[in-house]
């Protein structure tokens, strides 16, 4: 026990002397969370629009004003031929064009169907479908208002046509902001990057400078060395969780709806896996540079892609979905989102928690065995 304590103290003394480390542990996560928190934003706020108004009447202008008033659209260009539409869309100046044909007003006053054309740039499919939704919403509420006005003008009580109106209420993230959804998972990402890299570096550094060999000659047992090396990084990881959570709560104003204690506990389980992975990297790397490369390209990039952080797992082909089952980050992100946004309780997340526990124990244990074998 005293030997382990000795190693832990030594590890903290070394950390204290490394000024870069302060940056990595305290500054980098805060900066990353803030920058990513703003950058990882898939909301569509300003839609650049071109208008080809062939009708040029009060009604057509009134119709265009509906878009301006919604706050999402900006009318960047008024064009008078299709060539210009192509140019505007190709150059990326506008995302879509509203074409109002001749007789728009006439059709409406005659109580006939008035078609309008909308031309979209579909290269960013996600964004375009969001914008199409906005456009449809505006068009349908406008035609509803025409119907109501028409009834008034006739002076007769039209038979009321019953229609279905969905009254949508959005829970957990009522403004549908992607930031609210992304920030908790960025926290998972940062925790993974920092603990994995620091852990692997701490051991490879000793191998590089030759102190690991010195330690092998001493009566230190491998398990003592591993515990002594892992504990400081569990503590650092824990501090990072608190730092990142504070930024999330106080900077972005995203409160934790569920149990804070469960959140910290699941973070601890997750850190067991990342430290295990870090330890594994240290057994296959000779230099710190190598460890860095392996950590980034072989481990972290696939983890990020397959964790559901960026792309929804449900949309992946079946065989890729199976791959995601072995990604601990996947479970951690699920827990983070559920606890922070929905206030889910532990009882609703038992499978994820168990998987984290399982991975944590298995990875850390297997890596320790490998490390022990390499030491002897």
């Amino acid at each position: 026990m005293k030997v382990i304590w000795n190693i832990i103290i030594k590890e903290f003394l070394q950390l204290k002397r490394d000024p870069r480390l302060f940056g990595i542990v305290f500054i980098a996560p805060v900066m990353q969370l803030i920058i990513l928190g703003y950058a990882a934003n898939m909301d569509v706020n300003t839609v650049h629009t071109a208008v080809f108004d062939q009708d040029k009447t009060t009604t057509s202008r009134e119709f265009i004003r509906q878009f301006e008033r919604s706050g999402y659209f900006e009318m960047d260009d008024y064009v008078d031929n299709y060539k210009q539409i192509t140019d505007d869309i190709n150059s990326g100046k506008v995302l879509w064009t509203l074409v109002i044909p001749k007789d728009f007003e006439k059709n409406i006053t005659r109580k006939q169907t008035a078609p309008v054309q909308t031309i979209f740039d579909g290269s960013d499919g996600n964004k375009t479908s969001i914008v199409m939704g906005y456009v449809q919403g505006i068009v349908s509420s406008y035609s509803k208002s025409i119907l109501l006005k028409a009834t008034d003008k006739s002076g007769l009580k039209n038979p009321i046509v019953g229609s279905l109106v969905p009254e949508a209420r959005v829970w957990y993230n009522p403004d549908l902001k992607t930031r609210v959804y992304m920030v908790p998972s960025i926290m998972g990402l940062i925790l993974m990057v920092i603990t994995t890299i620091l852990m692997s570096m701490a051991i490879v550094k000793e191998r590089e400078i030759g102190t690991l060999e010195q330690l092998i000659v001493t009566p230190i047992k491998p398990y003592q060395l591993i515990i002594g090396k892992v504990v400081p990084f569990i503590i650092l990881g824990f501090i990072d969780v608190l730092v990142v959570l504070s930024v999330m709560i106080f900077w972005f104003g995203i409160g934790v709806r569920g149990s804070f204690i469960f959140l910290v506990f699941s973070s601890f389980l997750f850190v067991l896996s990342t430290l295990g992975i870090g330890l594994f990297i240290s057994t296959i790397s000779k230099t710190q540079q190598q460890a860095m490369m392996v950590a980034q390209f072989a481990i972290m990039m696939p983890m990020i892609y397959l964790s559901g952080f960026a792309f929804p797992i449900e949309n992946m082909p079946k065989f890729i979905q199976y791959l995601t089952y072995v990604i601990p980050l996947r479970y951690y992100i699920t827990i983070l989102r559920a606890v922070v946004l929905k206030g889910a309780a532990f009882t609703e997340l038992i499978p994820e928690t168990l998987m984290l526990l399982l991975f944590g124990v298995v990875i850390l244990f297997a890596s320790s065995l490998r490390f022990k074998k390499r030491m002897n």
């Binding site: 030997v3 010195q214 092998i216 000659v217």
Partner: protein, 313 residues
């Protein structure tokens, strides 16, 4: 009982035999020098004895414990200092002492007592708060050795301990090694400085994984080298060396500064022949021609070449 008993110790990497069944014994308190060229198997052997590498076969008994069967016990008996500086540069002198002391189970009084000793030996009294990285090379080396024996082991292994250290620090370092040896610690040291080898009680020469000679410095010079070494001082040293190395009657030719050493079977015949080929046939002036006591270097060059020739055949 010997302090170290090595019995048919072997290490094979794939098909490469790094250490080929070597056996030797070392007495308690002896300074045992392990010499050889780079890649001769020195470091592999020392790493097996320290428990860093597992032997392929054979065994060694250190302080009464077997490397193969009781590696944990062996570790409490030995200290080790490698060619790489193996303290933590980013810790202070005292933090290094506390860490390694603690690793060896030294606490409180015992630790303070040994800390005093280490600081004294490393010339660092009153400077324990210095960062280890800031120490000069020679002092670092002393500190590393003192810490390697902080737990007062019976045996200490030094793997090329004086690499990259200035001559005065090297001499001071050897004084420290002598002190350790006098206090009863067995010192097992590898080096390729032959002047350092002269300080060893026993020298063992290893080549291509085999021991090719062993004994005290004096024994090596007399027992293995029956020929005579003549030192030739002459002008046109380069062409003289060229001429002499082609002579069939000379076993060995090597250059030492401005002199040429030749290895001949008979002193008088040698003197006559040297004069004949250099002065009479090539008109090179010989200013001096002496029989000398061979240096260890003479012996080693002779033994290594003999061994290479034998391996080639």
């Amino acid at each position: 009982m010997y302090s170290i008993e090595v019995n048919k110790l072997t290490k094979v990497f794939g098909k490469f035999v790094a250490v080929n069944g070597i056996s030797f014994n070392v007495n308690q308190g002896e300074i045992f020098g392990f010499l050889g060229a780079n890649g001769a198997g020195k470091s592999t052997a020392i790493r097996m004895l320290c428990g860093i590498l597992e032997p392929t076969s054979g065994d060694a008994i250190l302080g009464g414990y077997s490397v193969m069967n009781q590696p944990d016990k062996v570790k409490t008996q030995i200290g080790y200092m490698s060619q790489k500086f193996s303290l933590y540069n980013d810790l202070t002198v005292e933090e290094n002492i506390n860490f390694f002391g603690g690793v060896y189970g030294l606490y409180n009084h015992k630790l303070e007592e040994r800390k005093k000793w280490v600081l004294k030996v490393a010339f660092l009294e009153g400077q324990k708060h210095l960062l280890t990285a800031s120490l000069p090379g020679g002092i670092k080396q002393r500190l590393a050795l003192a810490i390697a024996v902080i737990h007062e082991p019976k045996i200490v292994f030094l793997d090329e301990p004086t690499g990259g250290v200035d001559p005065i620090s090297r001499r001071n370092f050897w004084d420290l090694i002598n002190e350790l040896s006098l206090s009863g610690v067995t010192v097992f040291v590898t080096t390729h400085y032959l002047d350092e080898a002269e300080f060893c009680n026993t020298i063992t020469l290893i080549n291509a994984g085999n021991i090719i000679a062993s004994g005290s410095s004096k024994e090596l010079k007399t027992k293995y080298l029956t020929n005579t070494i003549l030192e030739v001082e002459c002008d046109k040293v380069v062409s003289a060396l060229d001429i002499l190395s082609k002579q069939k009657w000379i076993d060995e030719t090597s250059i030492f500064g401005n002199y040429i050493h030749i290895n001949v079977k008979d002193e008088n015949v040698g003197r006559i022949l040297v004069k004949k080929v250099l002065t009479e046939q090539n008109s090179i002036n010989i200013s001096r021609l002496d029989k000398i006591v061979p240096t260890l270097e003479d012996v080693f060059i002779y033994l290594l070449e003999k061994d290479e020739n034998k391996n080639a055949e």
